[in-house]
């Protein structure tokens, strides 16, 4: 019907190579999440600080991260910083771009989580003689973590999907990059990218399931 012969054998031979790429993908995603979480906490504190400069900085970061394409943010890191004589490798550009994006979205999630805990909880803690810091640490924060956990997991999945954008700035060691290289050599586009799609799907599902299992152990209420 299609007059096209699929060459799956050739593609499957490249599987070990692609799985190596998948490890790089996972590595970038995890690193970008770690950086993103740390920055997001800082941005959240900036917003709560009451300082106009810090608050404005945090708001600007969050707005740019949420209102421009992730690919734009990666381009900014890769090409834009060139203006200052900073030339990042594809790996670093990708990492910086995704981490920037993660931080913006996560900071917004944290704000939502903070809002979701009623003031009466901290008040109940204070009325038992806790200091405001104790009430925050022992009562508000544990509940906040639970509210924020699902969005953080989602962001992790997003980070994995975003790593595929590295190929547009010449990244060639992650799953998308390796797939593209294999494709350029053999022109078996469909076969290679179909396998890549399956690997991405499996990684995304594995992360989601692992997070769910972790959550059901952590948050038993």
């Amino acid at each position: 019907m299609f007059h096209y012969t699929f060459h799956w054998n050739q593609a499957f031979k490249a599987l070990p190579q692609m799985l190596d790429g998948a490890l790089v993908t996972l590595q970038i995603a995890l690193l970008s999440m770690a950086i993103g979480l740390a920055v997001a906490i800082a941005l959240t504190l900036f917003r709560l600080s009451g300082s106009r400069i810090l608050g404005g900085f945090a708001t600007a970061w969050i707005e740019v991260a949420r209102n421009t394409p992730a690919l734009f943010q990666i381009y900014m890191a890769h090409f834009g910083l060139g203006n200052f004589g900073i030339h990042l490798s594809p790996f670093t550009s990708l990492l910086v771009g995704i981490a920037f994006n993660n931080a913006g979205y996560l900071a917004e999630n944290f704000r939502g989580a903070l809002k979701a805990i009623p003031d009466t909880q901290a008040r109940a803690g204070r009325s038992l003689g806790m200091t405001s810091l104790q009430a925050f640490r022992l009562i508000v924060m544990p509940q906040m973590l639970r509210v924020a956990f699902l969005p953080v997991t989602n962001q992790m999945v997003w980070a994995i999907l975003m790593t595929s954008l590295g190929v547009t700035v010449g990244m060639n060691t992650d799953l998308a990059g390796i797939t593209q290289e294999l494709n350029a050599r053999s022109f078996r586009t469909f076969e290679f990218f179909a396998i890549a799609a399956v690997i991405y799907y499996v990684i995304a599902k594995a992360v989601t399931l692992a997070a769910r299992a972790f959550a059901s152990r952590m948050f038993r209420y």
Binding site: E63, F79, G80, T163
Partner: protein, 217 residues
């Protein structure tokens, strides 16, 4: 004064790119929403068990990078000798991608209508369709619209990836200018500003509706 090689015709070039971004977004969101409503109704009608195959397929669209989907879509249309231009391929893939998210939004909206309300409608003698049309739809749209606007903005941003198939949309247009003029930061800032200009009114509308329609009004 600030010196730039950026000329008036370059700005027109960027505007054309932005036009392409808007065109791809408009087509994909429109088609994706129609499909999403269809799938969403089917999903909530069939229940989780019978809708499982549909749920799975839609989940794949949400768990595989869009870039990979675009490449696969393009490869598939060439294998099938459909002869689609990149614009068509891009819109088809983005529509399905949009539909996958929209289905969840629609289903969430429908499920947010209390069973008791729907029973009340049916007990007044309304048909399933009348119940959907006069009771469920107005309530579900209220719940779903802010999220749907978020989806539209998301698709607008994600549409940048169609540059991989050779379409010259806003980001690709900027990249071409960057290569030619060697003023990366300045041109990318303009590009980012255009994304903001496009998305801000839509985001504002979303925020407004969310406030206006919050459940405790």
């Amino acid at each position: 004064m600030f010196n730039t090689a950026l000329s008036w015709s370059d700005l027109v070039f960027l505007a054309h790119g932005a036009g392409m971004t808007l065109a791809v977004t408009a087509v994909s969101v429109a088609a994706g929403t129609v499909l999403g409503i269809l799938f969403g109704v089917i999903r909530s009608q069939l229940g989780p068990y019978w809708a499982a195959p549909l749920t799975f397929v839609l989940d794949v669209f949400r768990s595989v990078p869009l870039l990979i989907q675009l490449v696969l879509g393009n490869a598939l249309q060439s294998i099938m000798k459909l002869g689609w231009p990149p614009f068509t391929t891009s819109c088809v893939v983005l529509s399905l991608y949009t539909a996958a998210y929209c289905t969840e939004i629609v289903r969430g909206g429908i499920d947010s209508v209390p069973t008791t309300t729907r029973r009340a409608a049916r007990s007044l003698g309304m048909s399933w369709f009348q119940d959907m049309r006069y009771i469920v739809a107005p309530l579900a749209i209220r719940v779903s619209l802010p999220t749907w606007i978020g989806l539209t903005l998301g698709v607008m941003k994600d549409s940048a990836l169609v540059l991989w198939l050779g379409l010259i949309e806003l980001l690709r247009a900027s990249q071409i200018l960057v290569t030619r003029l060697q003023e990366p930061l300045f041109i990318l800032l303009i590009c980012g500003a255009i994304y903001f200009i496009i998305s801000l009114p839509i985001a504002r509308l979303g925020g407004y509706l969310e406030k206006r329609w919050s459940p405790n009004d």
